[in-house]
């Protein structure tokens, strides 16, 4: 008896006991469904973030000083002379207390130059970002992050009104739309020279952001930057550099790692329910073997080998789990599609994920089908025939 006949027997049996088969498969269906849905959430949610970063920063390099006195304005102007660089932007930061009429909070004030907007392209919720005139006059104008606006209990009506930062009055000209951004809690932006006057000590910079002329040049420019700054800062031999250069690829790698971790974590949780589903199949198969002891005896009497009985029951377990897996994949993808619509990320069928799920459910069928199948195959023909 070949596998095709064993498979046909298994399918006939599953159809003949529809309700029981359905309930038996339920564990696998739920397991595979949650596996597909959860992993798609992990991937969808993080790939949304990844896309945002790709759009922004593929050409950007950020140089941060490891101490407050590592980078200088002079470094920035030397960097600007390197080939392959479009824009160089300087940033400083300091801490202060900001107060509106309603509330006050500690904030981080970031002084940015005129090129900052070109590189970072901040989204504006209300008002405008710092304009050329603000930079020219080193004016006391300020842009709030959305988190800061919330902390200060102000809304769009604060535009063109003042808040105090430290002991100085600043005119609010914009609020950012950065609700989903990172690290912008309690952050405000002012012109660079204004920051130097009130919150920071020239000529030191916190960060220098560089935009290369093309994405392909990022590695080369990184090397050149590192060489230039090392020689300017007298970094030789064993001395550790006092600056760090990061590009988007590192950030994307980091997000990728988070994505993998999330997928593994959620997938792992879902796999547990798949294993529980497997135990359900084993349970029902054991009951089934017991109920069908007489039938097994008849089959053995008329010439079924132990291996053929084993195959029949093993295939039955595998067909059950695989069928459960297929149904689970279909439902899981539908759920994933709706979650993607809700979460506004791209829905994509992942053939790898589907094949892995089906492979895994088949494996569950094999693992949990072996014991019942062996039990069936090892029944003694005489005793199986006598069984009532």
């Amino acid at each position: 008896m070949n596998l095709r006949i064993a498979a046909r027997l298994a399918i006939a049996r599953i159809i003949a006991t529809k309700t029981r088969s359905g309930l038996t498969m339920l564990g696998i269906i739920i397991g595979v469904m949650s596996l597909i849905a959860l992993v798609s959430v992990a991937q969808g949610a993080t790939s949304g973030i990844q896309d945002q970063f790709k759009g922004l920063g593929a050409r950007n390099l950020t140089i941060s000083g490891n101490t407050t006195e590592s980078l200088t304005i002079e470094d920035a102007s030397e960097i600007a002379k390197l080939p392959g660089i479009d824009v160089v932007s300087e940033q400083v930061s300091g801490n202060a207390t900001a107060s509106s009429e309603n509330a006050s909070t500690r904030i981080r004030v970031i002084g940015v130059d005129v090129d900052y907007e070109t590189i970072v392209e901040p989204d504006i919720f209300a008002g405008t970002f710092l304009a050329n005139t603000d930079f020219a006059q080193d004016s006391r104008t300020i842009v709030l992050s959305s988190a800061l606006a919330t902390s200060l209990k102000v809304d769009a009506s604060i535009i063109n009104e003042t808040i105090s930062v430290g002991s100085t009055e600043f005119t609010v000209i914009g609020i950012l739309d950065d609700a989903n951004g990172f690290g912008n809690q309690g952050t405000a932006y002012v012109p660079l020279q204004t920051a130097f006057r009130y919150f920071a000590v020239p000529p030191y910079l916190n960060t220098i952001t560089v935009q290369t002329t093309s994405e392909e040049l990022v590695p080369l420019v990184t090397t050149n930057l590192s060489r230039l700054l090392s020689s300017r800062h007298n970094i030789t031999g064993d001395r550790d550099a006092d600056f760090t250069i990061t590009d988007a690829s590192q950030l994307l790698d980091a997000i990728g790692t988070v994505q993998q971790f999330l997928s593994l974590l959620l997938g792992g949780i879902a796999s547990i329910s798949l294993v529980v589903g497997g135990i359900g199949i084993m349970n029902i198969m054991l009951v089934s073997v017991r109920e069908r002891t007489r039938e097994i005896g008849i089959r053995r009497a008329i010439g079924a080998q132990q291996s053929q009985i084993l195959t029949q029951f093993l295939i039955e377990a595998i067909v059950l789990s695989l069928l459960g897996g297929i149904i689970g994949v279909i439902i899981g993808e539908i759920v994933a599609y709706f979650l993607a619509t809700l979460g506004q990320w791209n829905f994509a069928l992942s053939p790898t994920m589907i094949l892995a799920s089906l492979g895994f459910s088949m494996l569950v069928g094999v693992l949990f089908g072996v014991w019942p199948a062996r039990t069936a195959a090892r029944l003694k023909p005489v005793e199986a025939l006598r069984f009532e």
Binding site: A12, A301, G303, V382
Partner: protein, 229 residues
Amino acid sequence: MAAVVEMSKVSKTFGDGTSIIRALDGVDLKIEKGEFVAIVGPSGSGKSTMMNLIGCLDRPSNGVVKIAGEDLSMLNDKKLTELRNYAIGFIFQSFFLLPKTTALENVATPLLYRGVHSKEAKKKALSMLKKLGMSDRATHGPTELSGGQQQRVAIARALVTEPSLILADEPTGALDSATGKQVMDLLTELNQEGITIVLITHDLDVAKRAKRRISLKDGKIISDTKGAA
């Protein structure tokens, strides 16, 4: 040529220690090709135990059982199974058709187990059902057949492998006398075609149809008579 069944000093015991049961106790028996043997005896006398040995479903505790020349004690489970499949056709008291399986599939199954292609097996099964007048019931399941019809399907299943021996345990036990007689007529006919038949029965009228009667009591053969009763 070897005898179909050959038993010498065969014992079969169950359990051990003080509760030991001697189901068969030193049985010598030889059944040649073409015989029609009835095994009779009271309940518990060892008839089914003997049938299990002749049917290669079990091995003796002591002594030698040879079926179609093969010593059962020398065969592993795989060979025993092959011997059942190739040499023996079983007919049981309660038919023992495979549940939820059509008459045609029931008859084809022993052929599938020996590796015959499904199409070929079905063709042979159908012609065997036709021979037994059951071809119009080929697609019916056991629950859609009367007792007599089920036994005919079971006989078709026993015959489809062209066995050298038909082993029937109370084949008429669950049938009314008219249907039972039809089944016995069929077995007689098969015997006339040259098939060896071993029949186990309580019913002396049924036993009379055999050419040879063996009586068992307490696991021993107490009489062995040949010729019409």
